[in-house]
């Protein structure tokens, strides 16, 4: 009896060894394979009787085969990559040993120039680890028994995550109740700031979990996380929450504000090139100490005959309270009056950023003045009268 227990214990230990080894390696690599036969050997020595009964399960066998195959494949891919890298280095006349990924990218862009619009569609050479996505390691031991209690849900990592979130939430609820009983209040200073953050998107979460999840499952993840974050003591589990938050880009700081230059008369000026709207294109110069003079292609604001276009020109100036304080010069070509006015408006707004404070820049952004208007005329479709309108339907 004692011997049996001893043997089982040994088995258990070995199993946990295997488990650890598998978990430490994200992808099934050479190490996993090295460990797996080793552990079986140990068990054979320790408990011969137990192992005679124990068979390596079919699933494990198939998995090992697959892992082997994958490993071989990755090896050959890696070899090919190294050879390719050497060839490239030779072609470019560089040292193959110090040839980095950046050099490779440059060489590829030089040797295979591509006019394809999407950058992902252009030719590239990357390490096989990058090209072939990571695969899950074995989720069961050699007898075919899964490590994870939720293995048979098919998505153990995802459901484990949900469990963890609920555990955290329950802990926070308990804490809140205990604190209430003691009459303590949550610390306002430590409050979790989530304004500039966003939960991981579905595909990002999928990448983290190495599991495919459906929309409704993602929904339950977001619901659970929101419940956790809405707790007044959410700062207690900050580390956990922050694993699933990603910072949002601050929109107004995204574009760098250029420093104004000085012209011959000692005035500050900023020129914005390539102001585009519809098919119009403009270059706009704004000079700071000015009298509100507006010059468009050598004419004044009467270059535009329509009120609306003139109003558009004055919109950013009056909105940022710089009307009458700056001079505007613009060269514009292409397009019609409203497109030209829109192009100049954008140019003025972009140039004015150098002369106003951060607060005003943010206001201008929220007013939609700093967004480039990408809308274009929609094409006419065949079988239709225009872009959207259909021909009048007549039965016969």
């Amino acid at each position: 009896m004692s011997l049996r227990v001893f043997g089982l214990n040994l088995l258990k230990n070995n199993r946990s060894l295997l488990q650890n080894a598998l978990r430490n390696n994200g992808a099934p690599g050479a190490q996993v394979l090295a460990v797996a036969p080793y552990t079986t050997q140990v068990t054979v020595q320790a408990t011969p009787a137990a192992v005679q009964k124990q068979k390596v399960s079919k699933a494990m066998k198939a998995y090992l085969e697959r892992a082997n195959e994958h490993d071989e494949f990755m090896k050959t891919q890696d070899l090919e990559f190294q050879i390719g890298k050497r060839h490239l280095a030779n072609m470019m006349g560089a040292d193959a040993e110090t040839f980095t990924q950046e050099d490779i990218n440059e060489a590829i862009a030089y040797l295979f120039p591509s006019g394809l619009f999407d950058k992902r569609a252009r030719p590239a050479m990357r390490t096989p680890e990058e090209v072939f996505p990571a695969r899950k390691a074995a989720e069961f031991d050699e007898t075919g028994r899964p490590f994870h209690s939720m293995f048979y849900t098919g998505k153990p990592n995802f459901f484990q995550l949900l469990h963890d979130i609920v555990k955290e939430t329950n802990y926070l609820y308990d804490l809140e109740e205990r604190m209430l009983r003691r009459g303590n209040k949550p610390d306002e200073n430590q409050k979790l700031e989530t304004a500039g953050f966003q939960l991981l998107s579905k595909d990002q979460l999928e990448r983290v979990l190495v599991e495919h999840i459906v929309d409704i499952e993602y929904q339950s993840f977001t619901n659970a996380m929101e419940r956790l974050m809405s707790s007044p003591y959410s700062y207690k589990s900050k580390a956990f929450i922050e694993r699933f938050l990603k910072p949002l880009i601050d929109q107004s700081k995204q574009l760098e504000v250029p420093k104004p230059k000085i012209d011959e008369q000692g005035r500050q000026y900023i020129t914005t090139y390539e102001c585009l709207r519809k098919t119009a294109r403009a270059d706009v110069t704004v000079r700071l100490p000015g009298t509100g003079k507006i010059t468009i292609n050598g004419q004044d604001i009467t270059y535009f005959s329509m009120d609306e276009c003139r109003e558009q020109l004055l919109f950013p100036l009056s909105y940022s309270e710089m009307l009458g304080k700056v001079d505007v010069e613009a060269n514009v070509e292409g397009g019609g009056p409203s497109g030209q006015a829109g192009a100049i408006r954008w140019g003025i707004a972009m140039s004015l950023r150098s002369f106003v404070d951060q607060e005003m820049i943010e206001s201008m952004r929220l007013a939609g003045l700093l967004t480039r208007d990408y809308r274009r005329r929609e094409r006419k479709k065949f079988g239709q009268e225009g872009a959207r309108r259909k021909y009048t339907w007549k039965k016969r």
């Binding site: 500039g196 109003e311 919109f315 009056s318 943010e362 929220l366 003045l369 208007d373 990408y374």
Partner: protein, 213 residues
Amino acid sequence: MAYVPATTLNILRFSKLSRLMSMYPSHFAEPNLNKITDRKSASHIPVKAATNDLSDSIFYGELKNKLIKYITKKGNRNLAKELLNETFETIKRTQIERLNLNKGDKTSVIINSEQLLINAIENSRPLLQLSAIKRGGVKYQVPVPVTEKKSYFLAMKWLLDAAREKDRKVHLPEKLAWEILDAACGQGRVVKKKDDLHRQCESNRAYAHYRWS
């Protein structure tokens, strides 16, 4: 319910339904001319570009813009704008004339033509609408509540329809000015049309539970 222009709200608005053909993704907010107080949460939200009918001048009015869009025919917005300006001029002229004729109470006459337009539209907004619903082979006229947006649309459409239904010799701005002035004091054809609609709805109230809309 008083008229509240959406741009005066102190929040970032999003279009309720993401339009499939829109150039902007659905997380883009509508431009807002107000100085928004809640800057921190707004700083991460991208904003759509201001359209070329938006402006912060004192002549800008949201309802006015909408009406211009309804007046426009064949994309000639410039003409529509001119017509509306002319309408406002006519309204102002008549109101000033009235003000000068009216010896006693000078405060009762509104001269602000934009305010008059808003009043007129508010007065001619319907509450209910009749929609034909087929039940057992018989078409019933069923009273259905209208949404706020639709009620504004109907009011403006009726005003315009009334203005367009005129002699060939009368100019549209003139007729529109009269209709607006009439509707602003709760008289005229448009308000009558609205009342008629309400009366019809009332007489068909027995069918109200047939609604499926």
